[in-house]
Point group: C2
Chain length 143, copies 2
DNA sequence: CATAAAAAGGATAATAAGGTCTTTTAATCT
DNA sequence: AGATTAAAAGACCTTATTATCCTTTTTATG
């Protein structure tokens, strides 16, 4: 469904956001431990997220990553489109160059329903709401 | 969503099935032209589908591929699991090694809903029904 | 100001996915 | 039987993704 980058990226952002709420900055080695991801690769992904203003990074001693208060409202869809582009929202399920209701592929109508559900789910899910849900039940970011 | 193999494979099977209903065998070069896919690669994919008894192949002059009458009832889910395995039906959206409601990831409940929709769609869609739908409207397999 | 901590950036390596080519096997038709 | 046609099989190549390593830059603090 998502690329590895995107999977790690989502887990990382969620972890950082959660820690930011508790006023903690977290560094890459902590992040990759807590979400069980390859450290250097995760650093690369976080660079992208930083450049796209999804997370904030601070260099130097006591530096690390945070999600700023006003960024808690961003939707998971934004994280996904930074890391995986938007082909998942727009592409044809059978790989045709363009998905278009005017000349649909055999799966078009059935597929766009699922694709749109995914899109809506990601667009309606804010980082904040994910974090809130995590306090209601034992939720994990690594296994 | 699906791998390239799976996209080409689904398109190929649908094309072959459609031709089989019209009593035509089709060879690889026709298939790859009609679904706009790389020929040699498509041949590889069809080998897999043949080994898994989804399509039937006949060598030699007037050979080619067909979908036999009694195979018209197979579900798209079978084609997908032959080509892409079943991680798409079972895997965690955030890439955890196992998806498990007992220790869910932050997206678990929202994600399994979409994943199950996809699964059901594929399990409820037979090859025959896809072909039938194609006679009702202008549907395309290449672009 | 030196030092240490941390992210950023560049280069490279490993693996997987996507794709091609050549040889072998089998069927059909003179 | 021999020529021809077509798929099967396997070796090989290419590209993209995933992952690591190492150097540079930034910055807080003693
Ligand atoms: S054309 Fe294939 S999903 Fe729309
Ligand atoms: S644990 Fe992640 S989707 Fe179920």
């Amino acid at each position: 469904m998502f690329s590895k980058s995107c999977e790690y990226g989502l887990r990382a952002v969620i972890f950082i956001a959660q820690q930011s709420i508790e006023k903690n900055k977290v560094n890459i080695s902590t992040i990759s431990e807590e979400i069980n991801s390859p450290q250097a690769f995760t650093a690369k992904i976080l660079q992208q997220l930083t450049r796209n203003n999804i997370v904030k990074s601070v260099k130097g001693p006591h530096g690390g990553f945070t999600v700023e208060e006003h960024k808690m409202d961003i939707r998971l869809s934004e994280v996904v489109s930074v890391l995986d582009g938007d082909s998942i929202y727009k592409g044809c399920g059978l790989g045709l160059k363009q998905c278009d209701a005017n000349s649909p592929c055999p799966l078009h109508y059935k597929f766009i329903e699922i694709r749109d559900n995914l899109k809506n789910m990601l667009e309606n899910t804010s980082l904040k709401s994910v974090i809130n849900d995590m306090y209601l039940e034992e939720i994990i970011l690594k296994r």
